[in-house]
């Protein structure tokens, strides 16, 4: 099915959460620490498209935490609200770490330079000068995005297999209506922000030719295999 290329938020089938269940979860949360989740401290908004199909584009709300100065891990939701669907995840690494990856791995990773410099990637609610301090770093990084839930084609549930996603690398790729929708909702102008970010530099060595799938499409396929189970056969057969 074709993507619809408007911001979608499909209704998930199922009964409303029972009051008892909701109360229970409040109680449960009160006992628990939520360690790794507490490291999530930043909301970034951008767009992804499918590794094999640029014409299917998805607004992606990233909730990111640093593991160190060169590595961020992000949960991706289709909306920044309470009922946001968790549709995927992204890993963001410094140029230095990216360059340590084997060549066969590099294809999964996309550059961030254009997303930042075009103004399209932004940090909602954070003043321009403050967000630009961080975006100066992001512009030099590479990201690996996997989506598990194809909300753009209206899937009410996460169906099928994971998809490798790519991101914007030049003008003319992003649908105007998707851009305008976000600009209106957040009262921002990508064009104006682009001017503000003109000074920002991308990776020191330039964008690696193997990144962005080397300009090809990437498509995931499912393969049935024998589970390896030497240990078990020895013990149980």
């Amino acid at each position: 099915m074709e993507g619809v290329n408007v911001s979608t938020h499909p209704e998930i089938p199922g009964e409303p959460t029972q009051t008892g269940t909701a109360l229970l979860e409040k109680a449960t949360a009160a006992f628990q620490g939520f360690g790794p989740v507490n490291k999530i401290h930043q909301h970034l908004c951008a767009f992804h498209f499918y590794g094999h199909d640029m014409t299917r584009q998805v607004e992606a709300h990233h909730f990111c935490g640093h593991l160190n100065d060169e590595f961020r891990q992000c949960l991706i939701y289709d909306s920044p609200d309470d009922d946001g669907r968790l549709i995927g995840l992204e890993y963001i690494v410094s140029e230095e770490l990216f360059l340590t990856l084997p060549d066969d791995e590099k294809k999964f990773w996309h550059s961030h330079e254009f997303e930042v410099k075009s103004g399209v990637l932004f940090v909602p609610g954070v003043p321009g000068p403050v967000q630009r301090q961080d975006l100066e770093k992001v512009a030099k990084t590479y990201g690996k995005v996997i989506h598990f839930w194809q909300v753009d084609k209206g899937d009410k549930l996460p169906l099928g297999i994971p998809q490798v996603m790519m991101a914007l690398t030049r003008d003319g790729q992003l649908y105007e209506n998707l851009a305008q929708d976000v600009e209106k909702r957040y009262n921002i102008s990508f064009e104006k922000e682009r001017e503000n970010r003109a000074y920002i530099k991308g990776p020191a060595h330039g964008i690696h030719p193997m990144a962005n799938a080397a300009g090809k499409g990437l498509q995931t396929v499912l393969r049935e295999v024998d589970c390896k189970h030497e240990k078990s056969t020895r013990v149980f057969v």
């Binding site: 160190n68 169906l159 790519m166 990144a211 995931t220 589970c227």
Partner: protein
């Protein structure tokens, strides 16, 4: 490379490698956190610790930490980490649906999902630091659900950075290649000062689902077959040049 059947990184491991954060970055993070509401993250209401097996190689087994958000009575979404402290690596995402929803899925979809009844009944599924009595009603819900778990960072084999395509994960079961390594369970139990055996006894009363769909836990009814994801290079459908 063989899995170490550990819980991922221990203190001192450099997974991932990289420079430490400086004060400026800490300030930027704090600032963003204060200005942004991070609503979907605040909806996470439950931490569960359990185990998972790689579908393509069930001898590789990992301890998992699920941070769970309920979107309605029949659907939960989980961010999965390899430890429960602030160094935890985000290793994947799991979706959980009620048996009612699961039965509406097509067989080709169902084969990617695993059942949760055994995990709950055997005491493998634990909610750390939550009294069993409090967790009980939710455990009764979970016992009747199915999950679909994609792992994107194989820290168990020592990957310092996320490598390769995502891997499908299966749940522990009481038979055959689904049996989880007791050493892994013991390690977890010691960390939280719990006993999976005692939990198992305490959960005897939890009703078994009347029927487990045989398309789930695919390997059980399909000669120990599993699934893996390959990535093929194709032409990209474009609307402007790429990259």
């Amino acid at each position: 490379m063989a899995g170490t059947n550990g819980t991922g990184a221990q203190a001192g491991d450099e997974i991932p490698p990289g420079k430490r954060m400086n004060m400026e970055q800490h300030m930027l993070d704090k600032g963003a956190q204060m200005l942004q509401s991070l609503k979907p993250i605040k909806q996470m209401s439950q931490h569960a610790c359990t185990f998972a097996l790689y579908s393509h190689d069930t001898t590789r087994q990992i301890e998992t930490h699920h941070y769970i958000t309920r979107l309605n009575q029949d659907f939960l979404q989980c961010a999965v980490y390899d430890t429960d402290d602030c160094t935890g690596h985000l290793i994947g995402v799991e979706y959980i649906v009620s048996d009612r929803i699961f039965e509406t899925l097509l067989p080709d979809e169902q084969k990617l999902w695993h059942s949760h009844a055994y995990e709950v009944k055997s005491g493998l599924w634990a909610n750390p630091r939550v009294p069993e009595m409090v967790a009980r009603p939710e455990l009764e819900n979970i016992a009747k659900t199915y999950g679909k778990f994609w792992c994107t960072w194989q820290t168990d084999r020592g990957d310092k950075l996320p490598m390769g395509p995502p891997a499908l994960m299966m749940s522990p079961q009481g038979v055959g290649i689904g049996i989880v390594d007791p050493v892994l369970v013991q390690k977890r139990d010691e960390k939280y000062n719990i006993s999976s055996d005692a939990l198992k006894t305490a959960r005897v009363e939890i009703a078994e689902p009347e029927w487990l769909n045989p398309q789930a836990d695919y390997w059980k009814q399909h000669k120990d077959k599993g699934f893996c994801i390959d990535v093929e290079t194709t032409e990209m459908k474009t609307r402007a040049p790429f990259p």
